[in-house]
């Protein structure tokens, strides 16, 4: 029963957040709810693995939750991001307006994400996936302009269509499943599946492309650069840091918990999807390099970086999974720091374009210091965290049985790292070294905004220096998937 609490508490509590009269009370209630959920989620993580049936629709089909190790990882990640971003969002949203709806939606989303993480079978996961898409639309629509509405519907359209593709796929494969639940190592019945292997491979490819839309994989990445610039900064931070990872989670579930490695290893969808992932890595970085709008640049960067994760996953080796989970965590931390930094800059100066940011480091040194650390992590400069995950990712690519893709991955990832340096470092260098004549008034943000930024930047540095514990945990997790 405990498993249901982290889902229900924020979802039901969100209603009460909406009904609070005063701004202060809303903020306190949201903070209390999210902290409570975080504690509950941690409790769930400490519990031994267990299953909770919610509702039986038909004998084989039921909604169920289970706290397996992947769910635990995702829960911890979500909670570690949700709390600091909430604290950042208090002053930001007060400034931007629409505080009531934002707090409500923000609180409820956490519950939905907890449900998504703990879903024990495809139907449950699909349900929470669609709920996640729907409930985050108000965050994109937040400022209510025509551009925001367009972006919101683009986001919704791509997400729902993508998830629909995946659902259509499920209709086909349900017949071939040995059991409806997810099972580490694959739940497909090998004997039955062998008869219709070509069909199932097509289905697999379509399902991953569908869920890939959420993770920003080509060809359905277009919602990301549209939605991020219009959403308020904390919303962009969680969209980019966590919601895209929801797509990654779905990809992991489908690949490793439904089809299984044995079925997919060496098949053509693997190569097609690896190509798509690598293409996305390049496309995202390249477009980010050419982009002038700061938040859209960061959005393109997300397109590129999340596909690093997909690349690692689709290698179908334990090292690849471990590396891509590392990348998932480290990207979430770095990208959130970057988006919060961008938010602090917008809050303080209203500057949206990159060329306006000359001298910003003199104006807001703490913010930009955190921005710099996160940028270095994203590029992959040691001793920042990103360097570790990228090293493991490329090593996994090179040691995977598909050698050509290892080399291609190496080249694309390094080119992308160079482009990442090309689109992030000029912001930092122009920000801190604007030239002798530049005069800037120092105007740092308050602790509510710099605190979360410092936390994320410090996490990037500390996890880069001492990633040992995390790596062990993830390699254990990756080991389970390969039984």
């Amino acid at each position: 029963m405990l498993l249901l609490l982290p889902v229900l508490l924020p979802v039901i509590g969100g209603v009460f957040v909406f009904r609070q009269k005063s701004e202060q009370a809303r903020e306190h209630l949201a903070l209390a709810l999210i902290l409570g959920t975080a504690v509950l989620a941690l409790v769930v993580c400490l519990l031994p693995e267990q299953r909770l049936d919610l509702l039986t629709i038909q004998s084989g089909l039921r909604l169920a939750l289970r706290n397996d190790s992947l769910a635990k990882l995702f829960l911890v990640l979500v909670c570690c991001i949700w709390v600091p971003v909430l604290i950042f969002s208090f002053p930001y949203i007060r400034h931007a307006g629409g505080e009531r709806s934002f707090m409500t939606v923000y609180t409820m989303t956490l519950g939905v994400l907890a449900g998504l993480a703990m879903a024990a079978n495809f139907v449950t996961m699909y349900m929470f996936f669609e709920m996640m898409s729907l409930i985050t639309v108000p965050m994109v629509l937040h400022n209510g302009t025509s551009a925001a509405r367009r972006a919101g519907f683009k986001y919704l359209g791509y997400s729902v269509f993508g998830a629909g593709m995946a659902l259509a796929g499920y209709f086909f494969i349900a017949y071939y499943m040995a059991a409806p639940d997810f099972a580490a190592g694959g739940a497909i019945d090998p004997v039955r599946a062998a008869q219709h292997r070509p069909l199932l491979l097509v289905i697999y490819c379509l399902m991953i492309v569908g869920f890939g839309a959420k993770a920003g994989m080509v060809p359905m990445q277009a919602w990301l650069p549209a939605a991020h610039p219009v959403a308020p900064a904390p919303a962009s931070a969680v969209l980019s840091g966590v919601i895209t990872k929801g797509g990654v989670l779905a990809v992991i579930r489908v690949t490793y918990y439904m089809f299984g490695v044995d079925f997919l290893q060496g098949s053509w969808p693997q190569y097609v999807l690896l190509t798509l992932a690598l293409a996305t890595v390049f496309v995202g970085s390249m477009l980010a390099y050419r982009e002038k709008l700061l938040k859209r640049r960061l959005a393109y960067s997300t397109v590129s970086q999340v596909s690093y994760v997909l690349f690692g996953l689709l290698l179908l080796t334990p090292e690849g999974v471990q590396a891509s989970l590392l990348q998932m965590v480290f990207h979430a931390l770095a990208k959130d720091a970057l988006f919060l930094g961008a938010g602090a800059i917008i809050f303080s100066t209203n500057y949206l374009r990159v060329d306006q940011l000359r001298g910003i480091g003199k104006r807001m040194p703490v913010t930009m210091m955190c921005f710099t650390l996160a940028a270095l992590s994203l590029i992959g400069i040691p001793p920042m965290a990103g360097a570790v995950s990228k090293w493991y990712l490329v090593s996994a690519g090179l040691s995977a049985p598909l050698w050509g893709f290892g080399i291609a991955g190496l080249v694309v990832l390094i080119v992308s790292a160079l482009l990442t340096a090309g689109y992030l470092l000029p912001i930092v260098t122009n920000g801190f070294f604007p030239g002798k004549q530049f005069i800037a008034e120092r105007k740092e943000m308050g602790p509510q905004m710099t605190g979360p930024l410092i936390a994320f930047a410090a996490a990037c540095l500390l996890l880069g220096l001492f990633p040992g514990g995390l790596i062990r945990w993830l390699s254990q997790l990756a080991g389970q998937l390969f039984g």
Partner: protein, 647 residues
């Protein structure tokens, strides 16, 4: 104990670096004491490290793969040299920055870089080396842009771009090596490389090539030298001394490791290194002869000297079993060049603080009445030019001897040695050019008549600490140069073991055979100075001789090749990326075109754009018009289908 020493060397400066801010807030004097003392503590640690040639330190799990440090041999020599340079520039810096604003930032990154550089030199595996190499690249960027002038920012951009591209290429090389061997432990690489099956050698070459690019970029090797002549003149003088004196050596150190441990006597590899080394050596010298900027001349000179060192690295490979002379020459030239550049750049800093100019025309005759600076500068100049009796002569002789030895070896086997005779002549000519441009500098600043309107400046033109730093550097050069058998050879022998040098034999430096090379070089230098520099690069303007910048401004590898190529690549890449990324939107667009055939809401008659009518009221909501809405409906349909199937 040894572990603590290594940890102290690497971590102490890094952890202590932020302390400059609170100390400066207390008072300037406290901060200055701090930046003078900390490098001296480091120097003491480095000196203590000499006692532990087998010191090791392992930090498992840090940065993912774990860090592994080791001391001894060449590593200890480089660490001691680096700490000496840091201590000396630490003495000099407060005087140099006495009137500068915002130098806390500089000091902070100055200390960070020291820790990182210690990490590079003490690395026992290539991963550790890479981690600290990248840190060093980024922290030293701050030195280059410290002055924040237009040129400094541009040079800083070039520096950072070369550093990032070099660093990433190096990363590719290391990842390929890791894939090949499963370990990056330097001491194991040689055995593993020799046991490598022939079909995987291609990967080894690719990996080695990537590492060469990465390390070469930092060393200032042609064609990646572009940052060097730009970054040095704009950086503060103590920073230039370190950039040129010791940071470039981290690149050389890497090239040496790769050459010795992966490609022991591999012919194609050594040919490439030799060719690049020769080009770097000659090009740097030619650029230096043409330059009329004091620090730019010294920077180009650094590039040329790195070329000498690279030639030495390649000769070690050619001579394989009998490489003692080449290895010693390489090691000693690294040491000499560091000390020489310390002396010369710090002198340049002293000159700059008084005159606020680096153009030779403004500096003419400034040093006529300054015997201490004149003497010190002369020792540095004579040493780098390879005048017998100064330390540079010894290392250059060793390098020259190694080429001659290989020519003998080839002739003995009856093979053609023309190519190496050409290398020998280029070596001597570059030595001659070195003498020529150093003469040019020395004559311009300390001998020629005073430029009109030049203020002599104060009598106290340099602080006591600076003169101590300069004096110590010059004394080391002179002392080592006069007693090569006592001082330099034992050093070289110890350091040579890292490069797997054999025992070698004592060289009699002051015999005619060896002096001949230096004499030829100096004769060439005199000829170049009198015939080229005085005739072509100087002009009589009234009663004074004027230095001319005859190097065509458009002839610049960076502006001519790299920037256009990178811009072109970015254009092509962006074009491809846009094509790929628009695939999804294209589908949506096609869908919109096919599914929505309704007329647009507004008509504009053809010949009258001022006139327009609304066919119908514009709709407030755009929801129904978007294709995304249709996609959403499709998704909704699928949900209904699911429900139908379930219930």
């Amino acid at each position: 104990m040894e572990g603590i020493l290594i940890a102290c060397l690497v971590l102490l400066p890094m952890l202590a670096s932020p302390a400059v801010y609170p100390l400066r807030r207390h008072s300037r004097a406290w901060r200055n004491h701090f930046v003078r003392t900390l490098p001296l503590i480091e120097l003491a640690c480095a000196a203590a490290l000499i006692l532990f040639p087998d010191a090791q330190l392992t930090l498992p799990g840090v940065c993912g793969l774990g860090l592994h440090f080791a001391a001894g041999s060449l590593r200890t020599l480089l660490v001691v040299t680096a700490c000496f340079l840091w201590a000396m520039t630490g003495l000099n810096s407060p005087a140099y920055f006495a009137h500068a604003e915002g130098c806390n930032r500089y000091y902070c990154f100055w200390l960070l870089t020291q820790g990182a550089l210690m990490g590079v030199f003490l690395a026992a595996d290539l991963f550790t080396l890479f981690v600290f190499f990248e840190m060093m690249s980024f922290t030293s960027y701050v030195w280059v842009v410290q002055n924040e002038t237009e040129e400094a920012l541009r040079a800083g951009g070039t520096y950072l771009a070369v550093a990032v591209i070099g660093g990433m290429t190096l990363l590719v090389g290391l990842l390929l090596l890791q894939d090949l061997f499963g370990t990056l432990e330097i001491s194991q690489l040689r055995a593993l490389a020799e046991a490598l099956p022939a079909e995987r050698r291609t990967q080894l070459y690719v990996a080695g090539g990537c590492c060469l690019v990465g390390f070469g970029a930092k060393a200032g090797m042609f064609p990646l030298h572009i940052w060097l002549p730009k970054a040095h003149p704009v950086a503060p003088a103590p920073a230039s001394a370190l950039l040129s004196g010791i940071l470039t050596k981290s690149g050389v150190f890497g090239v040496l490791i790769i050459s010795r441990y992966l490609f022991w006597a591999d012919l194609p590899w050594n040919t490439v290194v030799l060719a690049l080394g020769v080009v770097t050596m000659v090009l740097g010298a030619v650029l230096a002869v043409f330059s009329i900027d004091l620090k730019r001349t010294l920077a180009c000179s650094s590039m040329s000297q790195i070329g000498f060192i690279l030639v030495g690295a390649a000769m070690q490979g050619y001579l394989s079993g009998e490489n003692a002379l080449a290895a010693w020459g390489t090691v000693l030239h690294m040491l000499n060049h560091s000390l020489i550049k310390l002396v010369l750049f710090v002198s340049a800093g002293v000159i700059y603080v008084s005159t606020h100019s680096l153009n030779l025309n403004d500096l003419r005759g400034w040093g006529r009445n300054k015997p201490w600076l004149k003497g010190v500068f002369f020792i540095g100049a004579a040493s780098i030019a390879g005048v017998p009796g100064f330390s540079g002569y010894v290392s250059k002789t060793l390098l020259h001897e190694s080429i001659v030895e290989y020519i003998h070896l080839l002739e003995h086997e009856g093979l053609s040695a023309t190519a190496f005779q050409a290398v020998e002549w280029l070596f001597l000519i570059s030595g001659g050019l070195t003498a020529a441009y150093m003469t040019k500098l020395f004559v311009a600043i300390f001998v020629s008549p005073r430029a009109s309107g030049l203020h002599l400046g104060l009598r106290e033109y340099m602080s006591r600490e600076t003169s101590v730093a300069l004096g110590l550097g010059a004394a080391a050069l002179l002392g080592m140069g006069l007693t090569p058998g006592f001082t330099m050879e034992p050093l070289a022998e110890r350091a040579g073991t890292f490069l797997m040098a054999d025992h070698g034999h004592a060289v009699h430096y002051f015999t005619w055979v060896n002096l001949k090379g230096a004499c030829i070089s100096l004769a060439i230098g005199a000829a170049v100075y009198l015939l080229v520099i005085r005739r072509l690069l100087m002009r009589r303007a009234g009663s004074e001789m004027e230095y001319l910048d005859r190097w065509p401004a458009w002839l610049d590898l960076e502006n001519l090749v790299y920037r256009p190529v990178l811009r072109g690549l970015a254009f092509v890449g962006a074009f491809c990326a846009r094509v790929v990324s628009s695939a999804g939107d294209l589908m949506v667009l096609i869908g919109e075109k096919i599914l929505f055939t309704r007329a647009p809401g507004i008509f504009v008659p053809k010949h009258d754009e001022n006139f327009g009518i609304y066919a119908r009221k514009p709709r407030r909501s755009i929801v129904g018009d978007t294709f995304s809405f249709d996609l959403m409906l499709a998704g909704g349909g699928l949900i209904l289908l699911l429900l139908y199937l379930l219930l």
